[in-house]
């Protein structure tokens, strides 16, 4: 999944185009975000072991109805949101996806579909394009079916994705290839980059797994080696240079090996929110992993703008007042906002602690060692993501 707010500006400001995300006047005052992620459902035919959905998945019966999502879309457009990303789970598992895209288009929102692609037919994709869909992002688990179908836990998935990617371009829709990378597929990166070029994609996201929720449970099976990371850095740099003007590559590093923490979500409650299948308004898609925060729903009597501006969960980690040391006196405190709250919570038990990805965290050394020992664990079997709480990969798979 793309971290929108961390997207490197790709357009120079001297030619009359300024990248709005970087304009202080909008983001710094907690103005309404430009783009919102809508997780329409947690249902998904794939079972990726690093799924970014929470361990406790919303059931179909809890999902917002068509009428409720339409009301959300109208409200988002009304308060100044410009783009929506339809995501999941698998957003096309919703029977009303075409209707929702059409409604978003009607109220003036720019629409992006973030999909596994395996449920799409050419007719359905055409309907989506005709309804006003502006952009398609397809996830790939590898560059060939043996690795890819095993990671996704879905036979025939890879072949279907290639087909849908082709249809996407035939329908003249811009395509982003999203490749989630980990120890067991990083060796395919050069081929994945070539696959994105061959599919005529505009963008490629090389996103190393971030370790919360399902991915944290599968950390030993997914964590790359430090050597793999160095090789990946080199490959991405080389490909960016070689493919300038052909393919834009966004790159997310695995932050256990980083020196500085990421400015997660552009800072809590500053530039981003998402809405969960059951209608909760969240500062990030992993936020529900932090216990003790009460996230308000669009089903409450409060408007989305009110929840964004005033709810306790959004205000808890805004700004710098909540910070403890070493963040509080750190010169980078408004650069990275202490990293990721979900990771701080997962690894230290307190979301207000410094993200251990930071060298200034007392735990930094130990998570670096943890990553190295996970990478050398020899554990390759996955725990697949599903509504049953996860299913271990069978040994004869």
């Amino acid at each position: 999944m793309t971290d929108l707010t961390d997207t490197t500006p790709q357009v120079d400001s001297h030619d009359g185009l300024a990248v709005l995300e970087r304009r202080g006047s909008v983001a710094e005052t907690f103005g309404i975000p430009l783009a919102v992620l809508l997780e329409l459902t947690h249902r998904c035919p794939l079972q990726c072991p690093y799924c970014s959905n929470p361990l406790e998945l919303d059931r179909a019966g809890q999902e917002l109805t068509t009428a409720e999502w339409k009301k959300v879309l109208s409200e988002l457009a009304e308060i100044g949101v410009l783009q929506v990303h339809f995501s999941g789970g698998e957003p096309t598992a919703r029977k009303d996806i075409v209707e929702l895209v059409a409604h978003a288009n009607d109220v003036g929102l720019y629409t992006n579909l973030i999909t596994s692609a395996v449920l799409l037919t050419r007719e359905r994709l055409k309907e989506l394009a005709d309804a006003g869909l502006c952009h398609v992002q397809i996830s790939f688990q590898g560059n060939e079916p043996v690795v890819a179908d095993r990671v996704g836990g879905y036979k025939g998935g890879h072949a279907k994705k290639l087909e849908v990617a082709k249809w996407t371009r035939e329908l003249d829709l811009p395509l982003t290839v999203n490749a989630v990378m980990h120890r067991q597929n990083l060796h395919q990166l050069p081929d994945i980059i070539q696959m994105a070029v061959d599919l005529d994609a505009d963008r490629l996201e090389v996103a190393n797994v971030q370790y919360y929720g399902w991915a944290l449970k599968n950390r030993a099976s997914l964590m790359p080696t430090y050597q793999q990371l160095e090789e990946t850095d080199r490959l991405v740099e080389e490909a960016r240079e070689r493919l300038k003007g052909t393919l834009t590559i966004d790159y997310v590093v695995p932050d256990y090996y980083a020196l500085r923490p990421k400015k997660c979500m552009g800072g809590w409650g500053r530039q981003f929110f998402n809405i969960s299948p059951s209608g909760k308004v969240l500062p990030c898609h992993a936020a529900e992993s932090i216990t003790g925060l009460d996230f308000m729903s669009v089903r409450s009597n409060n408007s989305i703008a009110w929840i964004w501006q005033n709810s306790e969960a959004f205000n808890r980690y805004r700004g710098t007042g909540w910070m403890k040391e070493p963040c509080q006196s750190c010169e980078f405190r408004e650069i990275d906002f202490g990293g990721c709250r979900c990771q701080a919570f997962a690894l230290t038990g307190d979301a207000a602690n410094t993200d251990p990805a930071c060298t200034l965290s007392p735990l930094h050394e130990s998570i670096f060692k943890q990553a190295e020992s996970d990478a050398a664990s020899g554990q390759d079997r996955f725990l697949y993501r599903n509504f049953a709480g996860g299913t271990p990969e069978s040994s004869d798979a």
């Binding site: 793309t2 929108l4 997207t7 790709q10 357009v11 030619d15 009359g16 185009l17 300024a18 990248v19 709005l20 995300e21 304009r23 909008v26 103005g31 309404i32 430009l34 783009a35 308060i79 100044g80 410009l82 783009q83 003036g108 720019y110 992006n112 502006c134 952009h135 371009r169 035939e170 003249d172 829709l173 811009p174 982003t176 505009d202 963008r203 003007g245």
Partner: protein
């Protein structure tokens, strides 16, 4: 498929591709270009030129209109407009209408 890379000349008829939208953002009181994963804020001149990129007018027609409107030398306007449009095209915000419009 609409062409990705185009060479802008005075005979080109340029238009924003369907996945790129120019709109006025009422909330922030600025014109914006909406593109995949990006929101850009064009300046006043770029907005004025982009509004004329309707796929019906040729670039020469756009230059004529602007030269008349600002009572400016046509060759100066022409150089600036072609350079600006080429730049926008290189970034993927403009494509060309190649078939004849009825």
């Amino acid at each position: 498929m609409a062409p990705r890379h185009i060479q802008v000349t005075e005979t080109s008829r340029v238009v924003l591709p369907r996945h790129t939208k120019l709109k006025y953002d009422e909330t922030r009181q600025v014109w914006v270009i909406l593109a995949p994963e990006r929101v850009l804020a064009p300046d006043e001149i770029a907005v004025e030129v982009l509004k004329l990129c309707d796929g019906a007018r040729s670039v020469a027609g756009i230059i004529d209109e602007l030269a008349a409107k600002y009572a400016a030398p046509r060759d100066v306007i022409a150089t600036d407009v072609v350079a600006m449009l080429q730049d926008l095209a290189d970034k993927g915000f403009l494509t060309e209408v190649r078939e004849t419009t009825s």
